[in-house]
């Protein structure tokens, strides 16, 4: 259509920019910009997770902060045990902590998955507003629990003194840590694109449009939705784990409903249900924070206006605006 570019083309540009710009910053010796790009990659990853439930499955989860925070806390707790040489569990067998990302990630994802099965089973009995509220309630529950349970820092949060390690890499180097995050994002994007076009992905999208019809051809709606919800949670937990390592700090804020709202903002600003939407949304968010935040400390005022504008007038999000491609969501 006219001068607008196609979505595929735009996606390639975004990925290219995401990879090239941090290297440029690295060569110019500007680690601040490398860490900004790292945040973009991590927050986009969290958004890709939510987008699977929200954009494809139509499940409006207002509680994804729970999984983001679980990813963060699993990372923080394992690292703090390892660095303090205290076993997590000591009985007939002693389980030590670890500072290896390759062990932390699967554990964070596994624990998030277990919690997601539990939350999903109870929440998916409801729909509409009740689903929004019950997912919010679960996240709030974990939030208040993390504040009032003093073992891992309580309200003050838990510092991670040394960024966790990855074999063969020096994760303390910003550009190397960025490459880890960026690679994970690309792998997950590829995985989700495969999932989207699979039989499972089609069933999930069909469920969003008409649940009764899908059930009538013999597909179990609960099974499909629960699976999508759990996969979505594990992706967000992985992002949470990386986020903890980026800041070398976890705190109950990761569980707060503002975090859930923000992850939702990435998805919506970019374009709901679009594979690369969260990347566009997270980039725009970080750009706003860096540029507007430099001008005024009230930058969230303008973020609010922007979000309101997108919701009221530009329903395809940033990608929809740039490509003019329609998406039925």
């Amino acid at each position: 259509m006219g001068n607008y570019m196609s979505e595929k083309y735009l996606n390639r540009i975004m990925i290219a920019l995401l990879i090239v710009l941090p290297w440029l910053a690295h060569w110019l010796d500007e680690p601040y910009y490398v860490s900004l790009a790292t945040r973009v990659a991590i927050l986009a990853l969290a958004g890709v997770g939510l987008n699977l439930a929200l954009g494809l499955g139509g499940m409006i989860s207002f509680g994804h902060a729970a999984f983001f925070g679980i990813g963060g806390y699993v990372t923080g707790i394992l690292a703090s045990h390892a660095l303090n040489y205290e076993p997590i569990f000591s009985g007939f067998i002693s389980i030590p902590g670890t500072t290896q990302m390759l062990i932390i990630w699967p554990l964070a994802m596994l624990i998030a998955a277990i919690v997601a099965v539990f939350i999903g089973l109870l929440s998916l009995r409801t729909s509409g507003v009740y689903f929004i509220m019950i997912t919010l309630a679960f996240a709030q529950m974990i939030y208040y629990f993390s504040i009032s349970w003093p073992a891992y820092g309580g309200e003050d949060g838990l510092p991670i003194y040394m960024r966790n390690g990855f074999p063969g890499l020096n994760t303390l180097q910003p550009i190397q840590f960025f490459m880890i995050c960026c690679t994970l994002l690309l792998i997950v994007l590829w995985g989700v694109s495969r999932l989207q076009n699979s039989r499972f992905g089609n069933a999930l999208q069909a469920l969003r449009q008409n649940e009764t019809r899908v059930a009538s051809i013999g597909i179990n709606p609960l099974g499909i939705k629960l699976t999508a919800f759990v996969i979505s949670a594990t992706i967000t937990a992985l992002a949470g784990s990386l986020f903890a390592d980026l800041n070398r700090f976890v705190s109950p804020t990761m569980f707060s409903w503002h975090t859930s709202g923000q992850i939702m903002i990435f998805v919506i600003l970019g374009g709901l249900g679009r594979l690369y939407g969260p990347l566009a949304g997270a980039s725009l968010f970080i750009l706003c924070e860096a540029v507007l935040g430099g001008w005024t400390e009230y930058w969230q005022f303008f973020l609010g206006l922007l979000l309101l504008g997108v919701v009221l007038f530009a329903r395809g999000g940033l990608i929809g605006l740039l490509t003019r491609e329609q998406k039925n969501v």
Binding site: M133, A137, M264, I268, L303, L308, L312
Partner: protein
């Protein structure tokens, strides 16, 4: 002694419940009549508290402050309804959640801009200083008692307004069938604005009342908003009666849980551990309650019939 403490805790629970009702009544009305999830309701609560604090310190009169809180919140509510909400009634819940989330960001930052980041303090009038004697045994804060009485009167007022007046009848008609009501020649969009402003005024009033107990600061609306949502979901979305019952239940469970759970657990557990666990469990008790209610009654305790 224990009974007196228990009575005092019950009154505190009742006071929290009444406050939550003022918030939840607006939320549930707005949802019931317009089908709209309004996350920005907490902002109206905050606006009310700020208006009251500003006017009270400017004129020196707490009563004028209360009036200002109601008026400012109602005006803000009406403006928001006309400017933003109208476009959202036909949209899905996701758009409503996001747009109202955006409104929270906008109004919080605007307040920070206007009043600065430091909390304001709001003094109650001298009449309400100190405690009063109840039933000859219990000393209870006069101001909290005032909140309970005013809140109960407001609750009765809303009940009468919705159930016994013509405008209330129109609101109920609008809730059950929007198009039919409009076809009967009733200006339904005016009704919507009115309901929104009414809900906003209640929230602002609650904010002003509570602002004198706690401090008046930017994020004050958010914890209350989430509690009010829990109330609305427990009571059944759209039901005023459900909101009242839900609010009292939530207020009681929260207050008594914080007061007694650690002690109860001490009977069976090591005291230090019981205290920690009790405090942690008390802070999540109402969410557990909400989840239990939703599992057994997915439509809440008093499902509204639309």
């Amino acid at each position: 002694m224990a009974t007196i403490l228990f009575l005092e805790q019950c009154l505190n629970g009742l006071q929290l419940g009444i406050m939550l009702f003022l918030m939840a009544a607006g939320l549930t009305l707005i949802f019931g009549v317009m089908g709209l999830i309004n996350l920005a309701h907490g902002s109206l609560y905050m606006i009310g508290a700020f208006a009251c604090a500003a006017v009270a310190s400017w004129t020196g009169s707490f009563i004028l402050g209360l009036v200002a809180s109601v008026v400012c919140a109602a005006v803000a509510g009406a403006l928001i309804e006309v400017g933003v909400m109208r476009r959202l009634y036909q949209r899905d819940h996701l758009d409503q959640v996001l747009a109202t989330f955006a409104l929270i960001l906008i109004s919080s930052e605007a307040m920070r801009w206007l009043f600065g980041s430091y909390p304001l303090y709001l003094d109650v009038p001298e009449v309400f200083y100190g405690a009063t004697n109840l039933f000859g045994v219990l000393q209870y804060s006069r101001y909290r008692l005032f909140i309970i009485v005013v809140g109960l009167l407001t609750a009765i007022g809303i009940y009468l307004l919705i159930n016994k007046t013509r405008i209330g009848m129109r609101i109920r008609a609008g809730a059950s069938d929007r198009q039919m009501t409009a076809a009967l020649g009733i200006n339904i969009s005016l009704i919507f604005t009115l309901v929104f402003a009414l809900g906003a005024a209640l929230a602002g009033f609650a904010g002003a009342l509570v602002g004198s107990i706690q401090s008046v600061d930017i994020g004050m609306g958010e914890p209350v908003l989430i509690l009010a949502f829990v109330v609305v979901v427990i009571g059944g979305i759209g039901s005023i009666r459900g909101a009242l019952v839900g609010a009292i239940i939530v207020g009681m469970v929260d207050t008594l849980g914080r007061g007694y759970l650690p002690q109860l657990l001490q009977l069976v557990l090591d005291p230090v551990f019981a205290n920690t666990l009790g405090a942690a469990l008390a802070s999540i008790a109402i969410y557990v309650l909400m989840i239990i209610v939703l599992i057994f009654k997915p439509q809440g305790l008093f499902p509204a019939h639309g």
